[in-house]
Amino acid sequence: MARINTETEARFVDELRGLQTPFSSRAEAAEAFETNGAEHLSVDELERVKLEKILQVLRHPVLDHLIDKGKITFAMIKPHADEGKGLSNNDDEAAMGLIREIGEERAVFQLPFKFTKRDVERFYGPHKNEFEARKVKKPTDNERTVWDQIMHYYPSGPVTFLLVYVPEGSAVEWLTDITGPTLPKKEDPDSIRKRHGAKLPNNYVHRSSSIPEVKREVDVLANIIEKSIAGRTL
């Protein structure tokens, strides 16, 4: 494991904050996919080079170390943030509203993106059996199980990947507390999900459940970016 001092940690976080990712908005990310169909991103050569370097940062032992120390966790603003009670009717503004509630100073890395069905399989793959065994309460033609619902929901709109930095540590627990349970009940304390009327599958914010999950999800994110840029059409 990398051993880093506080100066390196501070610089790492500052650099992450300063990274300009290819899409300035979720709408732009969605458009980049729609131009070229479902599987590949439309980015030019220099954007691709930049993304490759961002991948190196995401795979760097220093990030791994900060995850191990409980200082960084993974989150994602889910598709259709604009469905949230009290949030803007504009998806990008609604997503920004959710990021502000997490804390802009804590959301040190933000990447608008769009999942394909294959990406969803990569991301939720380890939970597939569990989700396939669960039936949805109000099935539609396309959605009989929770897995069908997830496969239908995620590719339906852009997402925002986030790395959340909690300098005092216990980042996974901190984010779990402020986002709230999967489906908050009346008696549950105030949380982001409760405040905005979370329902399934849209409870607005995904967050990793443990440090190993943070590592797996960051790794999946890096692989998704890598595969998208490898197959791009210029």
Binding site: A2, R3, I4, N5, T8, R11, F12, E15, G18, L19, Q20, L46, E47, V49, K50, K53, I54, Q56, V57, H60, P61, V62, H65
Partner: protein
């Protein structure tokens, strides 16, 4: 997008790539992949 906007975008990207290179070099110095004894 007109030519000058394209040029501006290209310059901006090159700057960002240079900044990322410096950052990665800094990170690699903080966490050398191999120690003196050749172990990770």
């Amino acid at each position: 997008m007109d030519k000058s906007k394209n040029e501006q975008k290209k310059k901006k990207l090159l700057k960002e790539i240079e900044k990322l290179d410096k950052f990665l070099a800094f990170l690699d110095k903080q966490s050398p992949k191999k120690g003196k004894n050749g172990k990770n």
